[in-house]
């Protein structure tokens, strides 16, 4: 319990970062350099083709000071079909040194992002249009340096939305911790977990737990492992057999820790054995071949298919069905949901998989986080409702304010860098 205290400072950290945002944003803006512009006059080098004009270089916004962005107007001889221009060459000089070619570009190009630069170096550019027998250079740009930005303001709305949702999740966790009762609706598949294990016990058959085929770098696998914590606790209490073949050895490691802890908690550490969880192979269908065989040979009474599944979902679920097992499935891969719905007795749909561990634990803190998610859903519905109404109004009559608000919403909810 002491450790929780350690993590109390997340809200503090968040508020610190907001403060950082608010205090420093004007300062950072002031720091931003004037874009050095340089427009071009007709160039003396031009022989038979016109040079590119209006070469402009400016600092690429919100990076680690490693990129400059260049734009120009292509040579007037650069036409799609009959154009004489065969390409462009871009030249750069670092700190007043020799100019050298940094890249070649195809006809029609009008911008380039020069990356892998360093701060504190003066860069000067010019661009040359090429034809079969001639070259035409633009004038040089003024010297420019890259700037390192410490915060990415392109992502300010992403940050804000992340903050709102995190804050509401943390708020409800805190509320629940203080002892407030929170209502959470029933989730059909989860009500069945205890019964399904009980039935396996009565029949004297085993329980098969399949945590998907992804590794621990998939949140669904983590959700499956946390549900396993609860399932194995019941299994340990009932003294049922559990069998868990896995396709990733990291998952094996985590699952063993989990099941062992459950047996400890049930006061029967001697009943636990490492053989309950074993690695098969990382190969998707090799794993499926082995698990199918286990199903047919062991005839488990209950099968859990929870986690991230791919094509194997239906192979496993149909084989499980053919041996007459009760199957409880859940995945957040929408592609596989139809198959689980068709072939299993209970299916946790998408978000329910993540909610399941919180729901099963019954801990107020965990349930609080579900409430926090609902704030996100309410926010989504509200925004959609407003935007749809605005979009409909502006379809009937183009009002400027309506369009303005709608554009703002679109800007907030389409995060582009």
């Amino acid at each position: 319990m002491k450790t929780i205290g350690l993590f109390r400072f997340l809200p503090a950290l968040t508020s610190f970062s907001i403060a950082f945002f608010i205090i420093f944003s004007p300062a950072l803006k002031a720091q931003a350099p004037d874009d050095s512009l340089s427009t071009t006059s007709p160039d003396a080098l031009a022989v038979s083709i016109a040079p590119p004009t209006s070469l402009v270089v400016f600092d690429y916004k919100y990076d680690d000071g490693e990129a400059l962005e260049l734009t120009w107007v292509p040579s007037v001889d650069d036409l799609p079909v009959v154009g004489k221009v065969t390409g462009y060459e871009l030249y750069r000089s670092d700190n007043g040194g020799e100019f050298y070619k940094i890249t070649e570009l195809i006809p029609g190009s009008n911008n380039f992002r020069d990356e892998d630069l360093s701060t504190g170096v003066n860069y000067v550019y010019y661009i040359v249009a090429l034809s079969a027998d001639a070259r035409a250079a633009s004038v040089k740009t003024e010297a420019i340096q890259t700037h390192r930005e410490w915060l990415n303001f392109n992502l300010k709305y992403l940050f804000l939305i992340a903050l709102i949702i995190s804050a509401s999740v943390i708020y409800f966790i805190e509320t629940a911790r203080r002892g407030k009762k929170l209502f959470v609706r029933k989730i059909a598949g989860l009500e069945a977990v205890d019964d399904a294990i009980g039935q396996a016990t009565e029949m004297g058959r085993s329980i098969l737990f399949i945590p998907g085929i992804n590794d621990m770098d998939e949140v669904q696998t983590l959700a499956a492992i946390t549900i396993l914590g609860r399932v194995s606790r019941v299994v340990a209490d009932y003294d049922t057999k559990i069998h868990m073949p896995v396709s990733r050895s990291l998952v094996m490691t985590a699952a063993r820790e989990t099941i062992k802890a459950s047996y400890m908690a049930a006061g029967r550490p001697d009943a636990y054995s490492d053989d309950m969880v074993h690695y098969v192979t990382d190969e998707q269908f090799g794993y499926v071949a082995a698990v199918d065989a286990i199903m047919v040979r062991e005839k488990p009474a209950t099968i859990f298919l929870l986690g991230s599944f791919f094509a194997e979902s239906l192979i496993l679920a149909e084989t499980g069905n053919s041996v007459g097992a009760i199957q409880i499935a859940g995945t957040a891969r929408p592609a596989q949901l139809p198959f689980f719905i068709a072939a299993c007795d209970f299916t946790l749909i998408g978000e329910e998989l993540f909610a399941a561990s919180a729901y099963l634990s019954g801990e107020p803190k965990q349930l609080g986080s579900l409430k926090g998610q609902d704030v996100g859903k309410a926010l989504a519905m509200l925004v959609i409702l407003i935007a749809v109404i605005l979009a409909t109004i502006s379809e009937i009559r183009p009002l400027e304010t309506v369009r303005y608000v709608l554009d703002f919403l679109i800007q907030v909810f389409t995060i582009k860098t």
Binding site: I4, W150, T226, A261, G286, G350, F354, G372
Partner: protein, 225 residues
Amino acid sequence: MKRNVPLAITFIVGAVLIFSVFIPPMENWGEDFTLFFDIIAVFAFFLGGGNLLRVHLTKLSRRKQDWPYSIVTIMGFLLMLAAGLFRIGNPGDINASLTEQGSLFQTIYDSVFVPLGSTMYALLAFFVASASYRAFRAKNREATILLVAAFIILLGRTPLGTIVTGWVPESFSILQIPNLAIWIMNSPNLAGQRAIMIGIGLGVVSMSLRLILGIERTYLGGDDK
């Protein structure tokens, strides 16, 4: 040590990675960490391979049921390991591609791995049929909706749909099965997928927060040794 250090690691790593998205000088950290994961995963391969060998050697030595097949697994494993890890039967130099045509590794891959994997995958054709036979029954309103939607799409994805409803006039063309199939994919299907995705997005966000804050910690096991 056994519990607090891991919780602290999760918290620090998770929080840093979230904030790195907003801080350009830390942009590449996420990239680095994914690379780190891949490297750790290779160590995990070795852990897994060791476990596989142990399971089958135990089976062999205790003469458990079906033990002769364990010999097949072990032989297959060792042969592929020799060909892959130690490049036996690879004519090229050490920097030659592992999957060089004609190498032992590639040969086993082509004539063992591929037929086995593809056939296992192809079993789906059969299972998809048996699942639809069993599942698509008009048991209640939900099941009937499922059935009708599936039926329309099945028809619409073949030339049959055009043959059956090609006569429908242009002003009612949405009732032509192929058009209706596309409409279902583009409208109700899209709506459903999107609702599921929004839910999943929130679910992952909340789950990640619970993990980072150390509220969800089942994966770490208990406080024992």
